[in-house]
Amino acid sequence: MFITVNGSEQKTDIKTVMQLHDLSFSDYDVTILNGYQISEDFELKNGDQIYFGKKNVFPNSKELEMLMAARHTPFIQDRMRNATVGIAGLGGLGSNIAAMLSRMGVGHLIIADFDTVEPTNLNRQNYYVDNIGERKTDATADILHNINPFITITKHFIRITADNAADIFGECSVVCEAFDSPSEKAMLVNTILEKCPYTVVVAGSGMAGTDDSNLIRTEKKFKNLYVCGDNTNSAKPGMGLMAPRVNICAGHMANAVVRILMD
């Protein structure tokens, strides 16, 4: 039987994961079997991937990459690593989608925004007080690389228009529409669907206020368009954008991206 232990394949006659732990990795605290952290014992099977890790020890770069990959379900990780995904707008939706996709290990993220971080963003956007005044593209890239140093990020500090959208996002298999205004949303979605026939768009529509979480859903609307949101609750005076529903919608969008990449 062949198994992979901390990244190296080996032949073994050992019967269970915990026997392997006790024999060679007894001072390791974390055991991950095929992407899932276990505390009880499992019988070893041919092809198993096992990682043993230590808590409170800062890993070197190679160990870090291996340990992060350990938590990814193996066949999903290959798809993520080879994908290029665009994020248009780095506000409440985009900054949070970017963080989730970097945690997923999406290999190349193309991020675009023309704005800088300001204090009123912090109620829902994935920034910190330290980021105030920075370009959102720079702040997001720093945060993403602090989450996952092993992904490539391409930054565009520019306002996306019908003239530049296809050039910026043309190589993406999926583009997330994460703008604020409905006419900008429509502009981006129309432009990508018209000019990039092999690109799928995931858009957000309706996530303001504190209405029922379960009204937010993911729907396939067109051949190459998914829309996430409640389709109703527009941001306006008296109904602002707040972290929980914006994050729920961002989670829908990020998972839609993952499902499209797995398809």
Partner: protein, 64 residues
């Protein structure tokens, strides 16, 4: 014709732009797929819809 799965009555020779307007859509905030094909905004005035057409309209609301 059908809009988002619902049957609506149209006059023969109607333009896509007129159908969108009469059904309350603001053309700056929508995307339109007609019989599975995305319709560029610049063609809304020239496309003539027919009884057998099936159209999907996505109407965006603000926030993101």
């Amino acid at each position: 014709m059908k809009i988002n799965g619902q049957n609506i009555q149209i006059v023969s020779g109607a333009k896509l732009a007129d159908i969108l307007f009469s059904n309350g859509y603001d053309k700056t905030k929508i995307c339109v797929e007609l019989n599975g094909n995305i319709i560029p905004k610049k063609n809304y005035e020239s496309v003539i819809v027919k009884d057998e057409d099936s159209m999907e309209v996505v109407n965006f609301v603000g926030g993101g």
